[in-house]
C-alpha cells in the first residue's frame, strides 16, 4: 500500500511538471462541453424530451460524459507503448515490483489527478454556468462514484492491452488515436447509447465500454432503478475480471517474445 502511495505521488510530481499542457487539455474539454451543449439545445428547441431525457438531464449527461471520456486521450497505453518501442521496458522490468503494479499505480495517480484538477472543478463550473441536475439521490451519487472507480480498472486493462500491441506494430500513434476514438463512441461518450440503432444499442449496453461513461452517468441521473444499477455494476466487475485475465494472458504471451531494444 505504501508502495502504491509513493508511486501515485511520483505520478503527481510528474504531472505537475506539465501543468501548462494540462491547462490546455482542460480548456479543450471545456470547449467540447460547450459545443455539445449548444448542439443539444438545438435538438430540444423542437421537443421537450428525448427518450425520457429532458434538456436539463441532457446537459448533465453532456457535462459528465465529456469529462469522463476526456480520459480516453490519456491512460497508460501511450507510455507502455513507448517503453516497448524504445526499449525502456527493460528498465521497468528490473524494478522490484511487477509491471502491472507500476502501471496501475500510474493509472491511479493519473485518475486522482484528473479528479482533483479537472473532474470535480470543471463539473462544478459547468453545472453553475450551463445548469445541470443534482444526482437523483444520495445512493445514486455513491454508486456513481463507485462505478467510476470500477471503470478505471476496466480502462486500465484495456489500455494495458492496447499498449502491448506496440510490440506488434512498433508504432503507437495510430493505436492511441484509434483507442481514444473507439472508446469515446462505444462508451456513450459522444452520444447516449440509446441513440444507436436498437440492436447495436442493446449489445453496447452489455459491453465493457458502457461501464466507462454510460453506466455511471445513467446511475447518476436515476435512469436505472436500483436493481438495474446493481446489475450493471456487477457486469462492470465481471468485465474487469475478464479483462484482467485477458491482459495477464496476453502479457504472459508477449513478454517471452519482447525484445528489449537497444544496448
Amino acid at each position: 500500500m505504501k508502495k502504491m502511495k509513493e508511486l501515485v505521488r511520483m505520478t503527481f510530481l510528474t504531472k505537475f511538471a506539465y501543468m501548462k499542457a494540462f491547462w490546455f487539455n482542460v480548456l479543450g474539454t471545456g470547449a467540447s462541453i460547450v459545443i455539445y451543449y449548444f448542439l443539444w439545445q438545438f435538438v430540444f428547441q423542437k421537443q421537450n424530451s428525448l427518450n425520457g431525457f429532458t434538456m436539463v438531464q441532457m446537459t448533465t449527461y453532456v457535462i459528465l460524459s465529456r469529462i469522463l471520456s476526456s480520459q480516453f486521450g490519456g491512460g497508460i497505453n501511450e507510455e507502455l507503448s513507448q517503453w516497448i518501442y524504445e526499449g525502456k521496458i527493460g528498465v521497468e522490468l528490473l524494478r522490484p515490483i511487477s509491471l502491472f503494479f507500476t502501471l496501475f499505480a500510474k493509472r491511479m495517480g493519473e485518475f486522482l489527478f484528473f479528479l482533483l484538477f479537472k473532474g470535480v472543478p470543471i463539473s462544478i463550473l459547468c453545472f453553475l454556468i450551463l445548469g445541470g441536475t443534482a444526482p437523483a439521490g444520495v445512493l445514486n451519487f455513491i454508486l456513481f462514484v463507485l462505478s467510476i472507480f470500477i471503470s478505471i480498472v476496466i480502462m486500465f486493462f484495456i489500455e494495458f492491452m492496447v499498449g502491448i500491441c506496440a510490440f506488434y506494430t512498433y508504432g503507437y500513434h495510430g493505436l492511441m488515436f484509434t483507442k481514444s476514438a473507439l472508446l469515446s463512441i462505444l462508451s456513450g461518450g459522444i452520444v447516449p447509447i440509446f441513440l444507436f440503432p436498437k440492436g447495436l444499442a442493446a449489445v453496447l449496453t452489455y459491453m465493457p465500454f458502457a461501464g466507462m461513461v454510460s453506466v455511471p452517468v445513467n446511475i447518476y441521473l436515476g435512469k436505472y432503478v436500483l436493481a438495474e444499477s446493481a446489475k450493471f455494476m456487477m457486469l462492470q466487475i465481471v468485465w474487469a475480471l475478464v479483462l484482467c485475465l485477458a491482459a495477464h494472458l496476453f502479457y504472459g504471451h508477449v513478454i517471452k517474445k519482447v525484445v528489449v531494444q537497444g544496448g
Binding site: 509513493e6 508511486l7 511520483m10 510530481l13 510528474t14 511538471a17 528490473l94 522490484p96 544496448g263
Partner: protein
Amino acid sequence: MSQIQVEHLVKEYKRKKNPEGLIASAKSMFRPEIETMQAVDNVNFAIEKGEAVGYVGPNGSGKSTTIKMLCGILKPTTGSVRVNGLDPFHDRMKNNKNIGVVFGNRSVLWWDVPVIESFRLFQTLYEIPEKRFKENLEKFTEIMDIAPLLSVPERQLSLGQKMRCNIAAAFLHDPQIVYLDEPTIGLDTESKASIRRCISKINEEEKTTFIITSHDFQDIESLCRRIILINHGKIVLDDNMQSVKQKFNQKKQIQFEMEQNPWHNGEEFICQGVRVMGTTSHSLKLEYDLEQTDSMKIMTAVAKGSEIQDVNISGRDIEEIIRDIIRKDNHIKRSSDVM
C-alpha cells in the same frame, strides 16, 4: 554451485530483411523475409560470489544481449541461466531485489522529478530500512559527487551527471550482484577514476559480484581480475587477467638512454632472445622474448658496456592483446566460412 551459472546460452534475433527497391519493399510488407542471427551462441561460464569479471568484445558481439539475459529481461532462446539458484526470467522480481543494474544508455530514474525523489521511491520499493538508506545515500552521494544534483530533475542533467546518479541508484539497496553495461560511457576522467575506486572497494569489502562490460580497457584492467572475451556471440577467452597478460604478452620492448652507445656503428649487441630494433649514438632500442630472457639480464648486459642514464620498458597492454586475439579469431572464422 556458483552464484551465476550460464549453460549453453543462445539468443537468436529475428530480423526483417529490408529489401532494396520499391517493389521489393512493397512485397515485403505482406511477406517479409526474415533472417535469424545468433547474437549469443552457446555461451558457458560460471561466476563465483565476489568475483569481478570483465565481459569484453567488439561492437555487436553480444555483450548487452548476454547481460539482459543474466538480469532476466530477455528470454533465452535456449540454454539456461541460474543466478543464486533462480531463473532470472521466471523469478524476475525475486531476482531483481538482489541485483543492481546500470545500462550506460538507459536511466532507471524518473525523468521529471528531482533525483532524490527517485532515490526515495527506491527506498520504498526495495524496502530499504531508513538507517541503511541514509548510510548508503550519504556514501554514494559522496563517492559519485552528486550532492548538488539531488534536487535537480533528471531531464536537466548532463549525460555524465545522469550516469553518476544512475550508478549511485544501483547500489542503494545493497545488491549482491551488480551488472554494469558500459558504466563509464560519457564520464570525465575524474569521475571514471572515482567510480573505479568505489567499485573496487565495494567488491573487496562487501564481496559484491561485478560483471562489467566496457570498451575502456582501463576500466576492465583496474577492476577485473577475470576477463571473458566474446566475439560473434561465442566465447573466445575466459581467463585470469594476469595469465592473459603473461600468455599473450611474450614480447616486450626496452629502450636505453646512455652517455655513449658502444653498439652504434660498431659491433652489434648480441644477447639470447633479443633483437635490436634501433640504435643512435645515445640510445638503444631492443625487443626481447620473455620466454628466453628477462629485463634484468638485458640490463646487466647493457650496463657492462656503457653507462645507462634511463630505461623504459614497454609491453603490449591488455587492449592490444585483446585486439590481436579478436583479429586472429575473425581470421579463423573467415577461413572456416570459406571452406
